[in-house]
Symmetry: D2
């Protein structure tokens, strides 16, 4: 059939690793013109059930406990990194060492230092990469960006971005690796703010400086006596331990363009579930998008009020998934798009997806937020070379 086979390795088989695997598999039908045939060569995970599922259900030829075996396998052309944050750096650097393009979940590292090290190594080696800023692929977001770039909203003057989730709202949620500096680095900054920073930069260009505050609302949580997976399945006892990173952050933004903005995120909000909102205001109009209503885009470009557009054919890659407007795409579809853009990048050698440089750039925004929250001053954000958000 003349399609190019690409050997895939996936490291980490939690929710996200499985989603990567499915996403690779979905690419050929949705993007037939790519002529690509991903083969799921090898998966790595410490949990035996996950390894069995990889082979039984996900279509992997084999699975291993040892992630280094994935990177070392000569049949593996690309690798997905879906392990906890504190392992991203080590795995990513090994992939760079092996010359293997990788797709890493966000945040790219625990902190800006991790991210910088990864991105510099990638740049030195000249690899294509992907970072899991999946919201870039939402058809409504793609359409928003096109509207902005077309000038329909005039000159962008300010943005309002917030990401409010409730996954850590309960004080009885156990003290997992997410809440410790060593394993997670930052808290909600790495979890959510990095997405907001990436979207902000995608829509309005580079963030140049920030003034911020952060806070921890739930200061102690029960220590797990037996670990579960993700947020679920842990057993806890009486003992409580300290939460070491931030639950909430809010920042004022100054963009390089002269635009300004606000960026806020929380993992302990009660009410919103996954309210990730971007609002962009220009001299000619404004638009609004909310992840909780992923397929809707509110636009006022002179209509005298917001028009609710439902994503449909003509909005990003929507037409590859659904035939007509008003039919829901799923979150998982965003990852299929990400996989396709990553594979296209691998095939062409050009970066068609958020890169390690974008991951680093978002981490620098996060670092500036943390630093400003510490000393109460405006902090410049380190400019990062090679980002794709402004392309």
């Amino acid at each position: 059939m003349g399609r190019r086979e690409i050997g895939v390795g996936v490291i980490g088989l939690g929710w996200m690793g499985r989603l990567h695997a499915r996403s690779y598999r979905a690419v050929p039908e949705r993007w037939p013109e790519l002529g690509v045939a991903p083969r799921l060569v090898l998966a790595a995970d410490p949990v035996s059930e996950n390894r069995e599922a990889a082979v039984d259900h996900l279509g992997f030829a084999a699975a291993t406990e040892n992630w280094r075996a994935v990177v070392a396998d000569p049949r593996v052309d690309v690798v997905s990194i879906c392990v906890p944050n504190h392992l991203h750096r080590e795995v990513a650097l090994a992939a760079v060492e092996a010359g293997t393009p990788f797709w890493v979940e966000k945040p790219m590292g625990r902190d800006a230092a991790d991210a910088a090290e990864i991105a510099r190594a990638v740049a030195a080696r000249g690899l294509v990469t992907a970072v899991g800023f999946n919201y870039r692929n939402v058809p409504a977001v793609v359409h928003a960006r096109e509207l902005i770039r077309s000038g329909r909203l005039g000159r962008v003057t300010n943005l309002r971005v917030w990401l409010l989730a409730d996954y850590a709202a309960s004080p009885d949620a156990p003290l997992t690796w997410r809440y410790r500096r060593e394993t997670a680095g930052s808290g909600v900054i790495g979890d959510l703010l990095c997405h907001g920073a990436d979207l902000a930069q995608l829509l309005a260009g580079r963030v140049a400086a920030v003034s911020a505050l952060t806070g921890t609302v739930v200061t102690e949580r029960p220590v797990p006596t037996r670990a579960g997976v993700g947020h679920a399945g842990h057993e806890v006892g009486e003992e409580r331990g300290p939460v070491e990173n931030e639950d909430h952050a809010a920042a004022l933004l100054r963009f390089e363009s002269g635009a300004v903005g606000t960026l806020e995120c929380s993992r302990v909000a009660r009410g919103p579930r996954a309210e990730y909102v971007v609002e962009v205001y220009g001299t000619g109009g404004s638009l609004r998008w909310n992840f909780e209503r992923m397929g809707e885009l509110q636009v006022d470009a002179g209509e005298g009020g917001y028009t609710t557009l439902l994503a449909g054919p003509g909005f990003g890659d929507y037409a590859r998934f659904q035939p007509s407007a008003g039919t829901s795409m799923g979150f998982d579809d965003l990852k299929t798009i990400e996989a396709a853009r990553f594979l296209r990048s691998v095939l062409t050698g050009e970066q068609h997806v958020p890169s390690a440089a974008d991951g680093w750039s978002a981490a620098e925004v996060g670092a500036a937020v943390a630093a400003s929250a510490e000393d109460g001053r405006w902090h410049d954000v380190l400019p990062v070379p090679g980002t794709t958000f402004a392309q």
Copy 2:
């Protein structure tokens, strides 16, 4: 691995046939406890590109022009029927003849006569079947039904159901098979009202009688000079021909339970895109659901206003697809659930999914609507044996 293999044939490889194929494939990972391993044995379609895609991208072992070859293939344990409406009857009866459980898209036939013939043959043979009433699988709808059954809304007194779409709103949309009696049977009654009738019966029990009106807003359409696929890709000339079936229907409903309701549908609405709404009122509260915001359920069970619940774990099969509330499932996921329930039915011999009897029942509601619109009288709806909606 000890999983039971099930050979799958799919007849018709348009949007819906491809979706059936993907849905079968997705079942093992999402429903590992079923222990089922669908194998895509054979696909049938008259278009060569579709047959190639079936083998290249969808995972079929082979493809054929001849749908009878699918039914005849001894390796095919179940068959999906995704051809235009007027072929449903013939294919379904052939499957019954072969003793092969089938999953047929809605409407099950062009009219109640088609549907009755299919359902009776199925019953005589004792087969399990599935009819594509996919909205039953929406987690918010499942939750709605549980709320109703739990008594939280008190006694159900009335329903309001409407399905407003714009797919035929343009008078320049070509005169495809959908608009002709011979090939489509009814118009929006078969396309949308059957979904509404099924949901209404799922939530409030059997519809006993209707008073209705119907109308055709766009009475002529351009005749295609070269056919495309679905709504797209047709070429048309100057000639226009008559639309033979209804664009719009509205009905008053009397349920067997004593509840009453309204049911309205249109394929020529301008404004809504796919606004499929169910509202259920009871003596203790009410709820509302809209397909355009598939993951939301509005409930007032004494809170003094509607609470917007976002589907999450605990709502139907949500947890098999996404880890936490507020993350969008896709329309395609509804078909995966349908596939899983169909396969479970095949494995157990018990009907876990809307059956041919449900397809027939919805068709009888449609037939009563059409008859009432004709003569201006209330029409009783023929009771159908063996439906699953009230189970």
Copy 3:
């Protein structure tokens, strides 16, 4: 000052009578160009506290127990009729007899016979009148009508109108005059459906025929042992008595124009509070309005989605009340507009406000709904001469 004084009498000083009084008083400042100076001459009410309030707070020169004194008073140029439904006919006919223009609350009588008698007497005498169809004055509704008349929505093909309220939802609400045939006539048909019928006719022309059903959800209520006012303040004992009129009605509509529609209303809905919705669909677009968000109008006239317009200057009489869009007008302002249009009618002798003929016309729709619900057939709606809705 050269302004024309108009002597005002108000009969009935409940919530609505007081509102009439305030509305007259508010006209001169809001409509200075009318050059009118209403004087509150005399109010009538059986309750002494109401009579005192009329003089102390509302600005009446005097108050009386005897409504006939109001009609007989030579200083009274116009009279407002705000008594319970069963008294409308008698008071209105007395006003006609006296040659006094009147403003009567809806429903104009207990039934179509009452309404016809009033309207015919008015016509014979050549009086201007006003009927309290206040929703006509909502700026968003005025704007909606202008959009429709301008052709922006193309040819109107169907309407959806519903009025869902919860004021009678509790089965413990006492059995007041509203629930008895003799005093109220119909139930929700007179209370809410008449508003819906008037709006439907305002926006799409005359309703020609209906098919309908009605029902009583709460069949018994506690008998008051001591009467309160309106819905509040009653004392009840153990005894329960039968509700004699309908809680709910739903109808299919055929308009004279060929458009069709649905019309539904309930006083026992749980969830909506005062959800009075009009949706109008045309071949070029559609619009939606909901009383619960009185200042919003949803319009899709080719924008590809609904635009939420907030009423502002340019929408009906908005600019007389608020300076800029987004600021709430109140329900009471609708009555000030009604008063102004009534007074303008009185001054000019031309009918600028819904007339007794409109009140009769809405009553005929209600009568046809009741009759159809009785015998299950479509009923033609008696055409009424002299209505203003289509002007």
Copy 4:
């Protein structure tokens, strides 16, 4: 009748002055238990048409060009100050001098210095006062505050407040006094941010420190060649002049309580019309209110999603205006409540309405915002004695 007469003077008869006049007049009927009878003694305005309207339509006994005559009139017991910002100080100090309680519109002065001078004079004289923070009177806001105080939302951890308006969005809007330092002082800080600051403090206590940025989007506007009224009626020529104050401001907030927040406002937003939003998050839930939907309150206090409550009896003073939930109160009703609370304060000598101290406190927040925007540092907000927001 034994009611206490209060002589009222109103200075400035633009939109707001007229509204004050109507509001006083409306008090006796809505608050009969106050036993108060406001008499409109004297109005002052430089425009002759306004003076005529005061006497002809608003009910003033007389009108004058000279505002000092109002303050000096012995029959004037209370005075309303509705002139442009730069005159507030002079008029207010004159009222203090005369020992006359006053109701002044916001912002209380051009800047914190003006405000401080007024508030200190008031305190020295021991007068009751009112400042036009009308949003405090919104029934949904009153209910919100009660929910917070009841503990239903747990400990308040953060607020999000924004006020986005479009009144200055057009670059062709003329360069009126609003855009000049000398006459207006600040721009949107005085216009809108002061409302946001007051609401924030009402709901979460004193703001202790801010970090902020401000900006001017439209830097030049056409110079009026002939002045109109408010935003309308001006004539302009070719000449353009500089806008001297800010169009937009955004701030991070630290409350005395430890809560944090964001506060943003714009007068040049395109899309929102009068989107004044308060969101309050606590450890037990959250709530949201938006002025564009004044009668709605979104609350999640453990329901698993936001419940939309429609204001009704039981929400603040709603029941004085409308009989049942879902019926719109108007903006003007907020001023009637303000008038009533002011008059009650005058009668009792106790402060029942936002005071000059509250006006000063909001001005201090604005001053800190401006200062922080200037030097990029966090600024403490001067604590103000005698505020009512935390009572």
